[in-house]
């Protein structure tokens, strides 16, 4: 949480944040993971995700953004749409 906001991240770093937020193993985190397969991606998980993306990447999500989230890949796609550079490594 001490990392200053940045507009660039890597997939590994993003997956690490998501793994922490949803209390999952990093190894199991991938773009194909669906929301329904992640037990802690519930209302509390969503709220923690909003806080995480805001603090890490200065990205503010909207209600409409959240409706489109059905997989980890959707989060990646939305961040790219919001001009966040996500490096593969």
């Amino acid at each position: 949480m001490s990392t200053p906001p940045t507009k660039t991240t890597s997939k590994r770093e993003l997956f690490q944040w998501l793994a922490n937020v949803f209390q999952e193993d990093l190894a199991g985190m991938s773009e194909t993971r669906t929301r329904s397969s992640i037990p802690n991606w519930d209302s509390m998980g969503t709220l923690l995700l909003i806080a995480e993306l805001d603090e890490r990447l200065a990205v503010t999500l909207t209600e409409d953004d959240l409706k489109g989230f059905v997989s980890v890949g959707d989060i990646v796609a939305l961040l790219e749409q919001k001009q966040i550079t996500i490096e593969d490594q």
Binding site: V21, S43, T46, L47, L48, E63
Partner: protein
């Protein structure tokens, strides 16, 4: 990232780390476009002027499930008319329906009951949460979690019950999730039950009647054996009667369950039973008492919901030894089941948490039904949480928000 679960190797009853409320408030404020300093004032106790808005939201969430006069029910349940806590049989001022309200819009609500928990020879004040509801378009973004966290800040002990998968997940993050409660079911008129699963059985009404008689005979044998066993131990006969008023000894029974049987429970009183069961505008309740040797040894509240009847709440003399307590409960619950069946119920349900009540349900032929019924506690400091979660708890449907 702050997480809410304990490390795998932590003691089972260790306090879960609460998510950072300030951080979550900030996130929710941004999402809902509410200035962050205004967030604390978004949590307000509902009053009469909010009633129309609450009913509108509940209709949006529950739809056709609402078959009762919801305005009357809410006014009664959460003292929206400003009734004093004495009107609901005691408790505390925090026993209210709490709203997440910004401007004129009610975005969510969360019911709370300020209760005492009898544990370890003393009583601890606690808030019991229930009736969480959020506008469908805002569902799943954390409004419910935020309301829970804000209210938890005010008390040392919070108790939560959860029914839906979503609320169960949230409860698991904010509270110490205890083993699920057991839900029991007993078909007393098997016709509707069989027809729902195997429609061809409608052509064989004699078969279901025969089955009903077999099940009733089994219950009768259980009750007769229990009575004979009590007689063999030199106990006075048990008389079970239906009572128009709650038995005056309800509070005394609770005391013995806590002090003598060592159960952790939210104590009941006759005043509380009167408010909750007899003055309930949504459902008809029936009260029973079991008497032996000139004194009340157990009491029970049951409700009728169409074809389903529920054994809602029961108490017994905790000073009785285990075989006597079992006999009393078999007699009380068994008699109530027969009266409810005679009143038209085709199925009887119950919910248990303690071992004795579960055994009695099993003895009466009830079978555990699937479905999740979470129960969770959060307390400060960690030692208190460890004490409270260790139990053993006594919990029934009477501890839930159902009616």
């Amino acid at each position: 990232v702050t997480t809410a679960t304990t490390a795998p190797d932590a003691p089972a009853a260790a306090a879960a780390a609460a998510p950072d409320l300030g951080r979550l408030s900030r996130a929710l404020a941004r999402l809902l476009r509410i200035p962050e300093p205004q967030m604390p004032s978004c949590l307000v106790a509902a009053g009469e002027p909010d009633l129309d808005g609450i009913v509108r939201m509940r209709r949006e969430v529950l739809g056709d499930e609402i078959t009762w006069d919801d305005q009357r029910y809410l006014r009664w349940r959460y003292r929206l008319d400003g009734a004093p806590v004495e009107a609901i049989g005691g408790g505390g001022e925090a026993s209210r329906l709490w709203l997440f309200k910004h401007g004129a819009e009610i975005k969510g609500c969360l019911g709370a009951e300020e209760v005492a928990v009898a544990a370890g020879g003393g009583q601890i004040r606690a808030l019991r949460f229930m009736d969480l509801m959020v506008l469908p378009r805002l569902n799943g973004i954390g409004i419910g979690a935020w309301m829970n966290l804000r209210l938890l800040e005010r008390v040392e002990v919070g108790i939560s019950i959860g029914g839906s998968d979503q609320s169960i997940g949230m409860i698991g993050r904010l509270f110490h999730r205890m083993p699920d409660r057991l839900i029991w079911s007993l078909p007393v008129h098997t016709g509707p039950f069989l027809a729902a699963r195997w429609p061809w059985t409608r052509r064989l009404p004699a078969a279901s009647r025969l089955l009903d008689m077999g099940l009733a005979a089994r219950r009768l044998v259980t009750r007769t054996r229990t009575r004979a066993h009590a007689r063999g131990r030199g106990r006075a006969p048990l008389e079970v009667i239906e009572t128009p008023e709650p038995d005056p000894s309800i509070a005394a029974l609770c005391d013995t369950m806590a002090a003598r049987a060592g159960l952790v429970l939210v104590p009941r009183t006759a005043a509380r039973w009167r408010w909750r069961y007899l003055e309930n505008p949504r459902r008809r309740y029936r009260l029973f008492a079991a008497r032996s040797g000139g004194r009340t040894v157990a009491a029970l509240a049951a409700r009728e919901k169409g074809e389903v009847a529920e054994l809602v709440d029961w108490l017994w003399d905790g000073a009785l030894d285990e075989p006597d307590a079992r006999g009393v409960l078999v007699g009380l619950l068994g008699t109530a089941i027969e009266r409810l069946a005679a009143g038209g119920a085709s199925r009887v349900r119950a919910l248990t948490y303690d071992a004795l009540s579960a055994d009695v349900c099993r003895q009466l032929g009830m079978f555990p039904r699937g479905g999740r019924a979470a129960y969770a506690v959060r307390a400060r400091p960690a030692a208190r949480e460890a004490e409270l979660t260790a139990g053993p708890w006594f919990v029934t449907l009477g501890d839930s928000d159902g009616d």
